[in-house]
């Protein structure tokens, strides 16, 4: 059907068509922000301390009795830009596998958090580390020694993850 819809301009009232009251209202907000509390921080001098919600550099969780990772390779499989490489080895602990080599190429990482989401052992989490500077490509590939972080430093994020379970499998039709 070829019907003329009234345009935005046609729908305006007289006062809106004048624009001036709206300009005054907008400037009002500007002046309110000018004297109100500031949102910005002076970054290099002042540090930003995000909460558990923040997805920074992915790290490996180090428990009291060693690393949690069992080198199952799911993070490596799910990683969209192929940033993670895992090679497994055998230990005498109850969980027989451990990562001999665990490398994250921070030049490839896109901080999507899928590795954390897929991990069956809650062993890789996104930390609050947001300052990453590398002088060359080689040093941007982080090995286990740089990735392992004691669990005490990651409590925020682990709690956040437990409260916000990403995915609950939908009930299949046959279950009903």
């Amino acid at each position: 059907m070829n019907v003329n819809q009234p345009s935005e301009r046609q729908k305006m009232t007289f006062w809106e068509k004048l624009y001036l009251p709206e300009i005054a209202r907008g400037l009002g907000i500007t002046f309110k922000m000018l004297i109100g509390p500031k949102m910005t921080i002076q970054y290099p001098e002042e540090k930003y301390h995000p909460g558990g919600y923040y997805r920074g550099r992915p790290v490996l969780v180090l428990d009291e009795d060693g690393e949690r990772c069992v080198a199952c390779g799911l993070c490596s499989r799910v990683c969209p830009p192929l940033a993670i490489e895992v090679r497994a080895g055998e230990t005498d602990r109850e969980k027989e596998r451990y990562p001999v080599k665990f490398e994250i190429n921070m030049l490839r990482c896109i901080f999507c958090g899928l590795c954390e989401e897929v991990c069956p052992e809650e062993a890789i989490v996104m930390s609050k580390d947001l300052e990453m500077v590398f002088e060359n490509r080689e040093s941007a590939i982080l090995g286990k020694e740089k990735l392992l972080v004691p669990v005490a430093q990651l409590q925020d994020r682990l709690e956040y993850l437990r409260m916000h379970q990403y995915y609950e499998p939908p009930a299949r039709a046959q279950d009903a």
Binding site: L82, L107, D175
Partner: protein, 609 residues
């Protein structure tokens, strides 16, 4: 030929088959754990239960019909195991019905009650039948909240197999394999109920030469390989269909590759050759030599006696000059059964065109201790039969001593060894030949005592780096495609490569797999012939094979596509196709890829190149 009806679809079954077999042959996948076509059917996993019925008859023998004239089917009150139920004329099977699906869900829930959730550490994950069926035939949720059973983990059964009792679902495939196929019954069930487990008889070991087949038989990760343990996840690897070069049987196998290194070999079903099996020696000894101790580049002996790496152009120039420097009568060639049919044909053409008077000797490697009455044969080279057939009258019938005497009396001044280590195979005699020759040229893939004393070493591609065909001891010609890339041919189109190897960039550490400057023999000879002024016009292995099929009688009308389609063709039998047989694959990495599609893509890529 009884006709059975599965969900109303008529199927022509064969007499004596079970419902499961008939269904599988017609592309209907009824789930099964314990059934395997090579062994008896104990019907103890219960996942293959189906509803079975026959048309009801009246007292006078005629079929009872309903108002529409269709026969009335009387179903059995309880579900029947389809792996054990023989087909008969007019049998009706219901598979996709709520009752059967409900029973599958129940069976899966029972199996998963005591199955540990350790898929992250289990080597089978990714190619596991239980994982696959948990996805397709279960509710996805367990109602079991109590603690699971604990049983011994990592029990060493033998030199190659490790057992995890917690993961076992008691299908008894391994027990029946040891009993019925190997006739070496060393394992059996002990205890009852949910405490049931499998144990070795006291004082025995599962050390049969074919023990590793239980790894592929086991539908779960209860039996895994000690050699492959935790080396890689299966979804990271690529599996290329190939042929085992370990002996003249030519068992079909998959080559598991990660980062351009072979990590494992496993059998591939070919009912005409190896059925479902492969020997442990083949799996364990036929890949380390591809990964290690390789000759990466052609080597030339300099004046101070050390071998230095040179480019291919330089090496082949040197090669041609050395062949020219002596009379053709003074050239002795030692040929190996490791060569493919294409290599042997190119060699034959090269000898006929350039050095017709050369003495050619076939080096055979026989090991009577290796032979048994199952798969392994005494001839330890994959293509002795093919090389004999193709080289034919070019070959001289000489003993090793006669050859050595000729070399020592300087009748043969230039010795050219292809694909073998003289000393390893011929011992003292081989060393004397290597020392006695004025000029020693070696084409080899691995460093050996012979390559150390050589004047020129040409780096040869192994079976994993080239396309070609082997002719096995029964004269069956089998095709294989490359699993690894080389520096000579770095492109991978059409080859099976894993996600990592495909996407990796130069600055990813994992993609730094070794790339070697090695060539198959036919490529070297074609390049040498062009130095000599002949253009052979061979651009890919298929060109050589096409020429071979036209020239040598036994190979007439064979093509790679035909070889793949018929799972290999016996020499001279192109026009008499064997009766088709069902090739069963128990479980493999899913999603399944059509392996032969790759061959065609690979072919196109070669043409483009």
């Amino acid at each position: 030929m009884p006709t059975i009806y599965i969900d109303g679809k008529p199927i022509e079954a064969r007499e004596g088959q079970s419902i499961l077999e008939a269904a599988l042959e017609h592309g209907i996948e009824i789930p099964h754990f314990c059934w395997h076509p090579a062994m008896s059917a104990p019907a103890n996993c219960r996942i293959c239960l189906v509803k079975v019925g026959m048309p009801r008859r009246k007292p006078d023998g005629s079929f009872e019909t309903d108002e529409n004239g269709n026969p009335v089917i009387q179903y059995m009150p309880k579900l029947q195991p389809s792996c054990r139920y023989p087909v008969s004329e007019g049998l009706h099977v219901l598979f996709q019905v709520p009752e059967v699906i409900e029973s599958q869900h129940a069976v899966m829930e029972f199996l998963l009650i005591n199955h540990p959730l350790d898929c992250p550490i289990c080597d089978e994950a990714g190619e596991c039948k239980l994982q696959e069926y948990a996805y397709f035939y279960s509710r996805g949720k367990s109602r079991f909240v109590e603690e699971k059973n604990h049983k011994p983990k990592h029990v060493i059964w033998g030199p190659n197999v490790i057992f995890d009792a917690e993961r076992c679902i008691s299908c008894s495939r391994c027990i029946r394999y040891a009993d019925e196929i190997l006739h070496d019954p060393v394992i059996d069930f002990v205890n009852r109920g949910d405490h049931v487990t499998i144990e070795l008889f006291p004082g025995t070991q599962f050390d049969n030469p074919y023990s590793m087949n239980v790894i592929e038989l086991c539908p779960v990760g209860a039996l895994t390989s000690r050699d492959f343990r935790f080396k890689a996840r299966v979804w990271e690897m690529s599996f290329t269909p190939s042929v085992c070069p370990g002996c003249a049987r030519g068992c079909n196998m998959y080559v598991g590759v990660l980062h351009n290194q072979i990590l494992r070999l496993q059998p591939r079903t070919n009912m005409y050759v190896n059925q479902y099996w492969m020997c442990d020696a083949g799996r364990l000894t036929q890949y380390p030599f591809v990964n290690e101790n390789r000759i990466d580049k052609p080597l030339v002996c300099t004046e101070n006696g050390t071998l230095t790496e040179v480019s291919w152009e330089e090496a082949l120039d040197t090669f041609w000059n050395k062949l020219q420097s002596v009379d053709a009568k003074e050239i002795g060639i030692v040929v190996s059964g490791m060569l493919t049919n294409e290599d042997a044909f190119a060699l034959r053409r090269f000898i006929r065109e350039h050095i017709p008077a050369a003495t050619v000797m076939l080096m055979t490697v026989e090991d009577p201790e290796f032979e048994d009455d199952f798969l392994r044969v005494r001839d330890r080279r994959p293509n002795t039969r093919g090389v004999q057939t193709i080289l034919g009258d070019v070959l001289a019938s000489l003993s090793v001593e006669e050859f050595r005497a000729k070399v020592e009396s300087k009748q043969l001044k230039l010795v050219w060894v292809i694909g073998e280590d003289l000393e390893q195979v011929w011992g003292e005699e081989g060393r004397k030949i290597a020392d006695g020759a004025d000029t020693l040229i070696v084409a080899a893939s691995n460093a050996s005592p012979t390559t150390q004393v050589a004047d020129l070493v040409l780096s040869l591609a192994t079976y994993a780096e080239m396309e070609g065909t082997f002719t096995n001891i029964d004269g069956r010609v089998q095709h294989f495609i490359p699993a690894l890339t080389t520096a000579e041919r770095p492109y991978r189109w059409g080859m099976k490569v894993s996600r990592w190897d495909k996407m990796g960039a130069w600055n990813d550490r994992w993609s730094h797999g070794p790339r070697r400057h090695c060539r198959p023999l036919w490529q070297m000879l074609a390049a040498t012939a062009s130095i000599a002024g002949h253009s052979w016009n061979y651009r890919k292995a298929a060109d050589v094979f096409a020429d071979l099929a036209q020239t040598v009688e036994g190979f007439a009308r064979m093509t790679y596509a035909l070889l793949d389609e018929r799972h290999g063709i016996p020499l001279g039998k192109v026009d008499e196709p064997e009766p088709p047989v069902f090739h069963y694959d128990s479980h493999r990495l899913k999603p399944e890829s059509e392996e032969y599609r790759y061959v065609q893509v690979y072919d196109k890529a070669e043409q483009w190149w």
